[in-house]
C-alpha cells in the first residue's frame, strides 16, 4: 500500500464524524431489522384478531411502527449519501 493511500485510510479511521456516522448506520440497520420483524409479527397477529378494541389498538401500533421505519430508512439513506460524499 502506498504511503498516500495509507495516510488517507488512517485519517478516515481517526475521523470521529465518519466513525460516528458508521456507528449510527450499524445501529439503525439493527434497529430497522428488529422493527421489521415486529411489524410482521403484529400483522400476522392482526389477521387472527376479531374486530374490536384490541384490533384497533394493534392496528394503531402497526401504523406507528410503519411510520417510524419509514423515518429510519430515510435517515439511513441520508447517512449513506453523506458518507459517500
Amino acid at each position: 500500500m502506498k504511503a498516500k493511500t495509507l495516510l488517507a485510510k488512517l485519517s478516515l479511521f481517526f475521523d470521529d464524524n465518519i466513525q460516528g456516522k458508521k456507528r449510527e448506520i450499524a445501529a439503525l440497520k439493527k434497529l430497522l431489522k428488529q422493527l421489521k420483524a415486529k411489524e410482521k409479527d403484529w400483522q400476522e397477529k392482526l389477521k387472527s384478531l376479531p374486530q374490536g378494541e384490541a384490533f384497533t389498538e394493534l392496528e394503531e401500533k402497526i401504523l406507528v411502527i410503519h411510520l417510524q421505519r419509514k423515518k429510519g430508512i430515510e435517515r439511513l439513506n441520508s447517512l449513506k449519501v453523506s458518507l459517500k460524499k
Binding site: A27, L31, L35, V64, I65
Partner: protein
C-alpha cells in the same frame, strides 16, 4: 474520647521518635510503605473508568472465576482494600451478585498473601531500595504529566518505589533495634502464646488499618530475630483477624451490599483463624513438608511464614467455597435494611460514586425505584390496586366495577415516597458530577435527573386529579361517571404498559421498546380527543352542567401532563445507557397529532 486519643498518640509517637533513632527508621518504613499503598490505589483508581469494570463483570460469572479474579487483582494491585471497595460498589449497584462479591473477597484474601512472599522473598534479601530510587524518579516525572494514563502509571511507579523503600527502612530499623533491645525474650510458647500474639497481631492491624503493613512488621521483626517463628505465625493469623475489624468499621458507614460483604469477610476470617489455631501443629508440619518440596531451607523462616500465610488462606477458601451460596442466603436473611416510613434510597450509597459506571447504574436503579413508588401512588390515586394493574385482568371491568374511591392523602404520600427519594437522587447526581466523569456518563446523569423530575411532575398532577376523582369518580350521574371511568382507564392502561416496559429496562432491545412509547402517545392523544368530543356533545344536549364539564376538561389536562411526564421519564430509563439510534425515528408532536386524528377505518 477519640478527640483526646489522637493528640495523645501523636505526642507519644513524637516522644518515641525523639528518644529512639531505631524507632524513627521503623516508623518511617511503615509510613513510606503505607504511602506507597495509597499511591498504588490512586494509580489503579485511574483505570476504574471502564476497563476494570468490564473485566470485573466478565470475570465473575462463576464462583471459581470470581475467586480467581479476587486473587489476581489483589496480587496485581497489592491492595485488598481497593479491590474490596470496587467490589462493594459493584454489589451495591447490583452489577454483580452478592455470591460473586463473596468469591472476590475470598480470592482477595489469597491475593494479599503474595505481599508476604514479595517482602519475605525479595524485599529482605535483595537491596530493593536500589530499585526504588529510579522508580521514584520516573514516577515523579510521569505524575507531573497531564494525560490521565501517564499520571496513573506515575502513581503506580511511585507506589511501588515507596513500598520498596518502606521495606528497606523497616529492615534496617529492626536490625538496629536488635542491638539495643531484644523483643524475643518476651516470646511465649504454647497455646497461650498463640492466643496472645494473635491478639497483638489483631491490635497492630486495627491501629495500622492495613494487614499488609502488619505483615511487613512481622516479617521484618522475624528477620531480625525479634519474634520467634511460632509467635510470628500467630501474629499473621492476628493480622487476618484484624482486617475483620477494619471491615466492620467500614461496614458501619456502608450500604446493605457493603454490610453483607463485610459479613462474608468476617465469616471467612473468623472461621479460617479458628480452624488454623485448632490445627496449628498440623499446619506447621504441612508447611515444613511443603517447604522441603519447594526447596525452601528448613531455617528460612521468612519464606516459611509466607508459605504458612498462603496456606492458611487457601485452606479457608477451600473450606468455605463450597458453602458460598449458603453464606449468601444467610447474609441476605440476617443483614437487612431497617424499615422506615420515609422512603430510603436503595442504591445511592457513597460506594457507588467510586466509578462513573456504578454511579450511573445506581442512579438508574434509583429512578426506577422512584418510578415504582410513583406507580403505586398513581394506581391508588385512581382507586385501583397495584395488583390489578400488574395482572392480566380487564382494566375496563376493574374501573367499571369500582364501588368506592380510595381517599388518598397524596400530599403525605408524595412527601414520604417521592420527594425524599427525588431529593436524594438530585444530591447524589450533584456529588457524582463533582467528580471527573466522562461526557457520556455526565449526559446520562443529566437525563436521569430530568427523568426523576418528570416522575415528580406526574405525581403532582395526581394531587390535582385525585380531588375530582374522589368527588365524581362514583357519581350517580352516569354521564359523569362514564367520563371519569374514561379518565381512570386511560391512565391505568398507560401505567400497565409502562410497567411492562420498565421491567425490561436493561433489555438489549430497549430501543425498540423506547419507540413503542410513540404508540402509547398516539393512544393517549386519541383518548383525550374522544373525551373532549363526547364532552362537547354532552354540553350541547345538557347531560352535564358546564361547571362539571370544566372540571373534566381540567382533569383531562392533568391526565395529559401525567401521561407525558411518565412517557418522557420511561424513555430516559430505556435509553439512558447508550447513544440511542431512536432519535431520528421517534415521531414528533405533529405526526402524533396526525395519527391520533386519522379516522379509525
Amino acid at each position: 474520647m477519640r478527640r483526646l486519643l489522637f493528640p495523645v498518640v501523636l505526642v507519644v509517637l513524637a516522644v518515641g521518635l525523639w528518644l529512639s533513632n531505631d524507632l524513627v527508621e521503623i516508623a518511617a518504613g511503615i509510613a513510606l510503605f503505607m504511602f506507597g499503598m495509597s499511591c498504588l490505589e490512586n494509580g489503579f483508581n485511574a483505570f476504574t473508568g471502564g476497563t476494570l469494570e468490564g473485566i470485573l463483570r466478565k470475570s465473575t460469572n462463576t464462583k471459581f472465576k470470581s475467586i480467581c479474579f479476587g486473587a489476581a487483582s489483589t496480587t496485581l494491585m497489592q491492595s485488598s482494600s481497593l479491590v474490596s471497595l470496587i467490589t462493594i460498589s459493584f454489589v451495591s449497584a447490583e452489577l454483580i451478585s452478592l455470591v460473586a462479591g463473596i468469591g472476590i473477597i475470598m480470592g482477595a484474601n489469597i491475593g494479599t498473601t503474595t505481599g508476604a512472599w514479595l517482602i519475605a522473598g525479595l524485599g529482605l534479601k535483595v537491596d530493593i531500595a536500589a530499585y526504588a530510587m529510579p522508580m521514584l524518579i520516573f514516577g515523579v516525572i510521569l505524575v507531573m504529566q497531564k494525560p490521565k494514563l501517564r499520571k496513573a502509571s506515575g502513581y503506580l511507579l511511585l507506589g511501588t518505589g515507596f513500598l520498596f523503600l518502606g521495606i528497606h527502612y523497616m529492615k534496617d530499623g529492626f536490625a538496629a533495634f536488635q542491638n539495643s533491645f531484644d523483643l524475643s525474650q518476651y516470646s511465649i510458647e504454647g497455646l497461650l502464646g498463640i492466643l496472645i500474639f494473635t491478639l497483638i497481631g489483631m491490635l497492630i492491624t486495627v491501629v495500622m488499618q492495613s494487614s499488609h503493613a502488619t505483615l511487613l512488621i512481622i516479617i521484618s521483626a522475624l528477620a531480625a530475630g525479634q519474634v520467634s517463628y511460632e509467635n510470628a505465625i500467630a501474629l499473621a493469623i492476628g493480622a487476618n483477624l484484624g482486617s475483620t475489624i477494619t471491615a466492620i468499621l467500614g461496614a458501619i458507614a456502608a450500604n446493605l451490599g457493603g454490610r453483607r460483604l463485610a459479613g462474608a469477610h468476617i465469616i471467612f476470617n473468623i472461621v479460617t483463624a479458628v480452624v488454623s489455631i485448632a490445627l496449628i501443629d498440623y499446619l506447621i508440619m504441612l508447611v515444613d513438608l511443603l517447604a522441603k518440596g519447594l526447596g525452601i531451607a528448613p531455617n528460612d523462616y521468612l519464606l516459611k511464614l509466607a508459605l504458612f500465610h498462603t496456606l492458611f488462606n487457601v485452606m479457608g477458601v477451600l473450606l468455605l467455597a463450597p458453602f458460598m451460596s449458603y453464606i449468601e442466603r444467610f447474609l441476605i436473611r440476617f443483614i437487612r435494611s431497617a424499615p422506615t416510613s420515609i422512603e430510603q434510597p436503595l442504591y445511592l450509597q457513597a460506594s457507588a460514586l467510586q466509578t462513573p459506571l456504578t454511579a450511573v447504574t445506581a442512579v438508574h436503579k434509583e429512578v426506577l425505584h422512584l418510578f415504582d413508588n410513583a406507580y403505586g401512588l398513581l394506581a391508588h390515586g385512581l382507586s385501583l390496586s397495584r395488583k390489578t394493574i400488574d395482572s392480566d385482568e380487564s382494566l375496563t371491568e376493574a374501573v367499571h366495577n369500582t364501588r368506592r374511591i380510595v381517599q388518598l392523602d397524596v400530599d403525605d404520600a408524595y412527601e414520604d415516597k417521592i420527594k425524599s427519594l427525588h431529593s436524594e437522587i438530585i444530591s447524589f447526581i450533584g456529588k457524582a458530577q463533582v467528580r471527573e466523569t466522562p461526557h457520556q456518563s455526565s449526559e446520562a446523569l443529566y437525563a436521569l435527573r430530568l427523568a426523576s423530575r418528570h416522575i415528580v411532575v406526574a405525581v403532582k398532577g395526581m394531587k390535582h386529579l385525585h380531588k375530582n376523582v374522589s368527588r365524581y369518580g362514583i357519581s350517580t350521574n352516569p354521564a359523569i361517571r362514564e367520563r371519569y371511568d374514561h379518565i381512570r382507564l386511560r391512565l391505568a392502561k398507560l401505567l400497565r404498559e409502562l410497567r411492562l416496559l420498565t421491567e425490561q429496562a436493561d433489555h438489549s432491545s430497549s430501543d425498540v421498546m423506547a419507540l413503542s412509547l410513540d404508540a402509547l402517545k398516539v393512544s393517549q392523544e386519541k383518548m383525550s380527543q374522544t373525551l373532549l368530543d363526547e364532552l362537547d356533545d354532552m354540553i350541547r344536549h345538557q347531560r352535564i352542567s358546564a361547571s362539571v364539564a370544566t372540571s373534566i376538561m381540567n382533569d383531562d389536562t392533568y391526565v395529559n401532563d401525567i401521561a407525558n411526564s411518565l412517557l418522557q421519564a420511561v424513555r430516559v430509563l430505556l435509553t439512558h445507557h447508550h447513544h440511542s439510534a431512536t432519535q431520528h425515528m421517534q415521531l414528533n408532536d405533529a405526526e402524533i397529532q396526525q395519527l391520533a386524528e386519522s379516522p379509525k377505518e
